[in-house]
């Protein structure tokens, strides 16, 4: 293509290279992006409005659907917001179970996105493996919660049902399998593959300053050597009871971010093992009375937790009635998906656009809502 040819391209929403139903409008000069504009809103369902229409308990079924990649994170933030406004104490066992669920969800999300990233650079074997591995985690979820993807398991006041000991053993077995068999394969097939390294190294760089300035967190920030993690900075659930490291990178590029995803999974395995070893006995749900009449006092709370892609926050306002007055969702990839596209994509070559979009973990439903 002639270097000086100006092209305008609608990239997505119907395109395998975009993460989900999301579009980016580009202008190219040759094959280099000169300007980019996010075309979001294809997944807008008006969640925040719908939540205002429903009583507290009904919203537990609604929130996981805000982000299909990380439904459990949404359930957790919602429950935490409710508990923060209502000043509700959660039984310790429930805290542990929540952490186990969140870490399983983290592994599930990371392995899926590593698969997706690999597909973005044509490594389809890894995509198959990633999706397959995720499916074994979904089997565990199905056993604990009764559903594969939308679990509706973490509830205000605790969790819906107790985990059986058998299931905990199964989780430990799966963790061993992941660590000893599946991850080494992945390491060989993807991370030691010079082709993959070349495609990711030095691509889609976001520096520490840029990340902090736009409010990007998680792997994007950590890839610059900053070990910021809300699990450590503002511990919730049972994270204050476990030891783990926050993996970081050095260069702030796609390669570092994908390595962080990998190392994060290993840390999650470590966390899950500690949690299962230490899990206390006891109830898993605080007594909140009749589910149809959950009522918490007037008040508001901004709650946030560390999703696999960074800070996931809810601003919740209660007016003391049976329904939330306002819930505002701050998805982890909101700044990247809307602002980051415009600021950082220009200069990228067209073939690297999927690398850019996928390695940043952009999940459109969470900012479309």
């Amino acid at each position: 293509m002639d270097k000086n040819t100006q092209t305008e391209i609608f990239f997505g929403p119907n395109h395998p290279g975009v993460p989900g139903n999301y579009g980016i409008n580009y202008e190219f000069e040759g094959d280099t992006v000169t300007s980019a504009r996010a075309n979001a809103g294809h997944l807008h369902r008006g969640f925040e409005k719908l939540m205002e229409e429903r009583i507290w308990i009904k919203n537990t079924a609604l929130v996981p659907r805000i982000c299909v990649e990380e439904p459990d994170i949404n359930e957790m933030v919602y429950a935490m917001g409710f508990e923060a406004i209502g000043e509700i104490e959660v039984p310790r066992r429930a805290d542990y179970i929540r952490s186990i669920i969140l870490e399983l969800a983290r592994i599930q999300g990371h392995i899926f996105s590593i698969g997706g990233n690999a597909a973005g650079i044509g490594q389809y074997t890894v995509m198959h493996w990633g999706t397959l591995t995720r499916d074994y985690l979904l089997d565990i979820f199905e056993e604990i919660t009764g559903a594969r993807v939308y679990h509706i398991y973490i509830r205000p006041g605790g969790v819906r049902q107790d985990i059986e000991d058998e299931t905990l053993d199964k989780i430990l077995d799966l963790m061993d399998e992941l660590e000893n068999e599946r991850f080494p394969d992945l390491q060989k097939a993807l991370f030691e593959n010079p082709n993959a390294q070349k495609r990711w190294q030095g691509k889609a760089v976001i520096t520490k300053e840029e990340a902090i300035e736009m409010g990007a967190t998680g792997p994007v920030l950590r890839a610059n050597g900053v070990p910021h993690d809300l699990r450590k900075m503002m511990p919730y659930a049972a994270y204050d009871d476990v030891e783990f490291e926050v993996p970081t990178g050095e260069n702030g590029d796609a390669w570092d971010r994908i390595k962080i995803a990998r190392d994060d999974m290993l840390q999650s395995i470590k966390i899950i093992r500690q949690l299962i070893n230490k899990i206390p006995d006891g109830p898993v749900q605080a007594d909140l009375g009749n589910g149809l009449k959950y009522k918490i006092p007037k008040g508001d709370a901004y709650v946030k937790i560390e999703s696999k892609r960074g800070e996931y926050g809810y601003y919740m306002v209660s007016d003391g009635s049976l329904k939330p007055y306002r819930v505002h969702v701050r998805g982890a990839s909101t700044p990247l998906g809307l602002y980051g596209v415009r600021e950082f994509l220009p200069g990228t070559r067209i073939a690297d656009v999927p690398v850019w979009a996928k390695s940043l973990g952009i999940c459109p439903p969470e900012f479309d809502r």
């Binding site: 979001a40 809103g41 807008h44 008006g46 925040e48 409005k49 719908l50 229409e53 923060a84 902090i212 300035e213 736009m214 409010g215 967190t217 900053v226 910021h228 900075m233 503002m234 508001d300 709370a301 901004y302 946030k304 800070e311 926050g313 601003y315 306002v317 007055y325 306002r326 505002h328 701050r330 909101t334 700044p335 809307l338 602002y339 600021e343 900012f367 479309d368 809502r369």
Partner: protein, 165 residues
């Protein structure tokens, strides 16, 4: 490293906040007069509160006000601070924060989509999420989504089997 109390003192020393509150551990909320808010944002940004989580808007039709809430976080103090201010619902105009955080432009556009609030200094307020929206902004309390849906769409009646009350 400041704790929650230090932070509130700092706020009190430099501004005239209407209400200061330690919500819970590592969470603080401060309400400002609308004239002071933007100043407070840039002040806090220069005092390590560099992370803007998001901007929330809450509609309070009975008071005739919108409440804007800016959630900041400091990686040094590890405190989350929510800065609140109230603006008149009509005409619903506020100052932009995009000079302080460029990303705020998109949060403001989001609020403009859903509440119809305009931000002076942010000229690019075209539709971000919605497309061809003709009604009053949907997140306003006076927009009744069920009525809208009833008017615009039809429910399946399953050959008359479905009974709805």
């Amino acid at each position: 490293m400041r704790n929650e109390k230090d932070l509130l003192q700092l706020m009190n020393a430099h501004f005239e906040p209407l209400k200061l509150e330690i919500k819970r551990k590592q969470n603080v909320s401060v309400e400002f007069k609308k004239e002071e808010l933007i100043q407070a944002l840039s002040f806090l940004k220069s005092h390590s509160y560099r992370h803007l989580s998001t901007i929330s808007c809450v509609d309070w039709p009975e008071e005739g006000e919108f409440e804007l809430v800016y959630h900041l976080f400091s990686y040094d103090d590890l405190i989350n601070i929510s800065l609140k201010t109230r603006i008149k619902r009509d005409p619903g105009i506020f100052q932009t924060a995009k000079e302080i955080w460029p990303v705020a432009e998109f949060y403001e556009r989001d609020i403009h989509d859903f509440f119809g609030v305009k931000f002076k200094g942010n000229d690019n307020l075209e539709e971000l999420i919605l497309e061809n929206w003709q009604e009053i902004p949907p997140m306003r309390k006076d927009f009744d989504t069920r009525k809208f849906v009833n008017d615009k769409y039809e429910w399946r009646d399953y050959n008359g089997q479905k009974h709805t009350d």
